[in-house]
Symmetry: none
Subunit: 248 residues, 2 copies
């Protein structure tokens, strides 16, 4: 298990298509108050921006170090685990945990690599496609009649829970088998998509719900690295057979 | 013990001499997201103010219901218990608790009457004289090098902890589809075994740990009937391709 400060350095806060630059600044400040440092911005509406700088207050180092990327896939590259924040009930692949339980799980995964916490837009949160890229969903308990936390407020609460959870990390035991990383799992899904198309089982123009259903199933299982290797081995063998048929 | 919603109604958030009206609005929003409603303002610099209204968003009812008083003593009248929030180490006669432990204590006191959580000014927090009016001090764990939470962010974290401590931490769960039966699942594993043998991926004389690993993975996921159908559809398509190769 990492010491707390090393665990904190592993957390990557990802803000997706944030509209208001002030929220980015306030989020940077929230990160720093809890000892986090990694901020990744997916396609922000305005950044850099004076309002972001103003609201970051003393946290300009976090803001200056923020990485801007084009899409969520890029933001999650190299992560061991990704957690999507969502307040709304929705169709989701895997497990839905309270923020507190999700924070404990996040800390456990820092032994493997970076752990992303993904926050959606101010208006509508994360899309289903974006949530599907996350291993679990975390939800912040809130008033059912008014659950709209400001995105920077949500980041503050999450960063606080992560900090508290790192201090409790000695009571949490890591999974026995090596968990698959985010990249392992994305690699598996990309491979499965290619193979299913080659099999004429999946029609690229009419994909319907096949791939999301598979994502949902495997997210629920919580894949291990060796399982990903087994499944990719099967896919590779199918690829060989399909290639033989094609050659005729 | 009160039911959770009654406990939440007992919490009184007290903001002392807040300088920026935007923080009052953001605090009102933070209260409402967590189901709290009582806001008391001790000698605010500007209130009411358009910036407070703007940042309260949908929480105007909390803002409109906010009570303005002249000093902290008046704000605490009728309270069963008062908790002062402080980040800095300082002279204080009583107990200093983590926010989490303080929230549990706060909930316990709601059986007696209202419980106040007192937040100081943006610049310097609460004075020693103000802290002395509180039964305990609560401290939010923070980065020692940069512990300056925005006051509305601190209110958000505290209100969140109060909500979780009352037990109102229900988590939504993803929709469940019809679970696969035992026979569905046995049929899937038998089919997978046949197909993997046909693919020469599994050797019947030397099966090793492949099938038990697949069983373990799918057992962990808790298969649904539709997922079994999807997986058997893929296997059937692979069977067709293998048959084509065999016919040559």
């Amino acid at each position: 298990m990492n010491p707390p400060s090393e665990s904190l350095a592993r957390f990557r806060i990802v803000l997706v298509r944030t509209s208001h630059p002030g929220n980015i600044g306030a989020a940077a400040r929230a990160l720093l108050t809890m000892g986090l440092s990694q901020l990744v911005l997916v396609d922000p509406a305005h950044f850099p921006h004076p309002e972001a700088t103003a609201l970051a207050r003393g946290a300009t180092a976090v803001l200056d170090g923020a990485r801007c990327v084009g899409d969520l896939g890029e933001a999650l590259e190299g992560c061991a685990f990704a957690i999507g924040l969502s307040a709304r009930r929705r169709e989701f692949a895997g497990r839905v945990l309270s923020l507190r339980d999700a924070a404990r799980e996040a800390v456990a995964h820092t032994g493997v690599g970076d752990v992303a916490l993904v926050f959606g837009t101010e208006m509508s949160g994360l899309s289903n496609a974006e949530l599907a890229q996350c291993g679990i969903v975390a939800t912040i308990p809130a008033n059912h009649a008014y659950s709209s936390l400001n995105v920077a407020a949500a980041v503050q609460v999450a960063a606080y829970e992560l900090r508290v959870a790192t201090g409790e990390s000695d009571v949490w035991s890591a999974p026995r088998f090596a968990a698959a990383t985010h990249d392992d799992i994305e690699g598996l899904h990309a491979h499965a998509e290619r193979t299913l198309i080659a099999l004429n089982f999946l029609h690229p123009e009419m994909p319907r719900r096949l791939l999301p259903r598979l994502r949902r199933l495997f997210a629920r299982a919580g894949l291990e690295r060796e399982e990903v290797n087994i499944l990719r081995g099967i896919l590779a063998r199918v690829d060989q057979i399909v290639a033989k048929v094609r050659k005729r």
